[in-house]
């Protein structure tokens, strides 16, 4: 199988199939991305309802067509400065353990196609807070894009606050 795949490597369709599409966005001026299949929708920021006693990175809850979903500030989650949320910002709705969760990002950039082979392991840096949430990095048009490990960012929703 291995050799067969290699032999066909030049075939554009096969090559395409190996690529995954990612949505890249900026959080605190840094480029991050999530696999497109993890994202349910992207919405413009609108003021949320504050949850009492919530940690700084939980902004509150939002009404998503009748469902109450929690909104996280990715920037605060990554240990960067807290986002001053405004109309220009976006909420990326992802599904974690079957439950919708909103992530506040600065802005969405583009959809990029990534060959899994191009994903590099994160070199150890002195920023543990961010490191835990990153599962790899890629180079795209000379910028470094960090691939978010969604399961690490939102562990189990129920336990976030307790």
């Amino acid at each position: 199988m291995q050799s067969q795949a290699e032999a066909k490597y030049d075939d554009p369709e096969v090559k395409h199939a190996q690529h995954s599409e990612f949505v890249s966005f900026t959080v605190a001026s840094q480029a991050f991305c999530l696999k497109i299949t993890q994202i349910r929708e992207i919405r413009r920021w609108s003021p949320v309802t504050i949850l009492p006693h919530a940690p700084a990175d939980v902004l509150g809850v939002m009404n998503l067509r009748g469902a109450v979903i929690p909104i996280y500030d990715l920037s605060a989650r990554f240990g960067l400065q807290q986002t001053e949320a405004s109309e220009r910002n976006v909420v990326i709705v992802v599904s974690v353990h079957g439950k919708p969760v909103g992530l506040l990002a600065e802005s969405v950039s583009e959809i990029i196609s990534i060959n899994p082979d191009d994903i590099q392991d994160t070199p150890p840096v002195d920023s543990r807070n961010t490191m835990d949430y990153i599962q790899g990095i890629i180079s795209h048009e000379d910028t470094m894009v960090r691939i978010i490990n969604l399961d690490a960012v939102i562990s189990v929703p129920e336990q976030v606050l307790s």
């Binding site: 009492p52 809850v61 307790s162």
Partner: protein
Amino acid sequence: MAGSIQDTFFEECEELLEAMDEGLTAIEGGDHDSEVVNAVFRAVHSIKGGAGAFGLDELVAFAHKFETVFDEVRANRLGLDTKLIQLLLRSSDHLSDLVSVARDGGSTDEAHHDVLISALEEYIEEEEEELVFQPMGLGGAFEASPIEAEKERTYNIRFHPLKDMYGTGNEPYFLFQTLADLGTLEVQLDDSELPGFDSVDTDESYLTWKLTLTSTESKSAVEAVFEFVEGLCELSIESDSDAEDEANALAALDAAFGVMPEEGGDQVAAPFEPPVSAAEPVAEPAVAETAPAATKAAAPKAEAAKSGPNPTLRVDLERVDRLINAVGELIINHSMLAQQIANLDVADLRDVETELEGFKNLARDIQEGVMSIRAQPVKPLFQRMARIVREASAATGKTAKLVTEGEATEVDKTVIERLSDPLTHILRNAVDHGIEQPEDREAAGKGRAGEIRLTASHRSGSVCIEIKDDGAGVNRPRVKQIAIDKGLIPPNAELSDSEIDNLLFLPGFSTAKEISNLSGRGVGMDVVKNAVTALGGRINISSTPGKGSTFTIILPLTLAVMDGMVVSVADQTMVVPITSIVETMRGSDDMVNNLGADGTLLSIRGNFVPVCDVGAALGLETSGHDQPPGVYLLVETETGQRSALAVDDIHDQRQVVIKSLDGVCGNIPGVAAATILGDGKIAMILDPESILAASPSAAAFDTERRMNNAIAS
């Protein structure tokens, strides 16, 4: 979905146990009508049948004994005296225990089991040995009664499998083998339809068997053998004694309409078949099936009239909940739409508004309809309570009778489920502490048997459940003394009668002198109060010495919507449940008194009530922290403690759809749930209880002042 058939069986069991309880209660009440007896018998028999199919041996064995005794009653060989009725009631309780054990695991009280078995055996005559019960398949509700005239009959059976029968993997050989077990069987193969070897279609069915069975079994037992191939074969069963049966049955029919019938409804059904099968030997089994069904419906008229043939639908609860959610959305959507239209810059909106009003009414109708799906009558719950009283009276040596009223009152399913524990507790208490010993009752000029009245009724948008006993009433001096001894109230406290009664709801209060088996396990009525409050309800007690006490539980009709007061706190819109609010008031400076550095007390008609700033308690930044919030909501907690919740403003009072926050963000202190308001924004529904618990001022508030100010309600 492994074991889904078994689930169905247990669901059926629930219904059958209910029917059995109902019947037994009627019998206990003096209704010894044969239809009632038959109904109970059938219920037990069907449970046994289903249990047999699942190999639940213990259940089968017990149900069999139970059933046999009942059969004796049915045949008028046993008279229904009080002793027997008590035994039957206890047995039915045990049977439902066995069913629960079979479903959920665990074990029953062996000793109790054996006692009941031997007690039942005393009533059973010598013919007990045939314990070899053969499972007759699932839900065989109308199987033959086992006791039928023990005489040999010859059955002529013509059996022609359709090709579908082979397709479903049924094998005639096994059927014949089962038949052979019933008696002496002769099998004759009719292959006349078999075409020549060349033209044979290997998938077609050509063979017909003629079977002659000599057996003591009833016809329905023979039919039961073919139960699994129903509709897959052409079947006719004729019995040489059909004519005889017919005569019997006619007699039975007469009896059904006139005198006490000697035999059950099953037998009444039998006679209508032979003419059918005689006239049309190749009668489809379906025809044979409908005949008894029709007769059944006709014969036991009394039963039909009693229970009412309301067809019901078994629906997954989750589907109903989804529907309720969707309707909730619809209502929210309507108010959003209305708001948007109102904001439009259009000169004449009257037409639109009229239509919108119609839309609103429709939406409300749908909501009410959907809510009523979840609503269920309290009858099953009340029936379970009869058992509690029975057990409690047995354990205390007192005689108490439960009388229920308003069993048809419908309440949300969840409310019913969560009401079971508090009701159990109150009823046990009523028997244990309320009802006196028979001798004492006689001395007091009352009947030996105590009466506990359990009533459910609708009262202006809520459900009222009343538990009234005719016992001794609350022993107020003793209750007060205990409260003083336990340090719940100061020794010099002056309390009104109703205040003393309400002391029972204080945590850590238990009046039982010694810890009895029944109540007084250290948890008291406060648990009951908590459970009721958790359902958004209130509980009250009133008592007359020597006459008895009455507990009144007021509950909301549903848990999906709630009446709430929309308030604003620290620029956030929030909802406070109406049920917890006693009073609202706009504060003025002279009402607010400082106590210590941070404590604030609100003076209400001479009473001082601690103030809890909701914004601060929730950890929200209040914009103008210097000026005190303008509006106070006076709330009363489970312990009877009153506090004033300080909020910025009150906007509205309205029905809100409750959205659980479970799975969204876990448990937040001070917040019960969320709701979506007309503008699409989410608002937190507050839980005053936990706000106060979290607030330091409330915690520091001492018992004495609390007791002086509180409890009255």
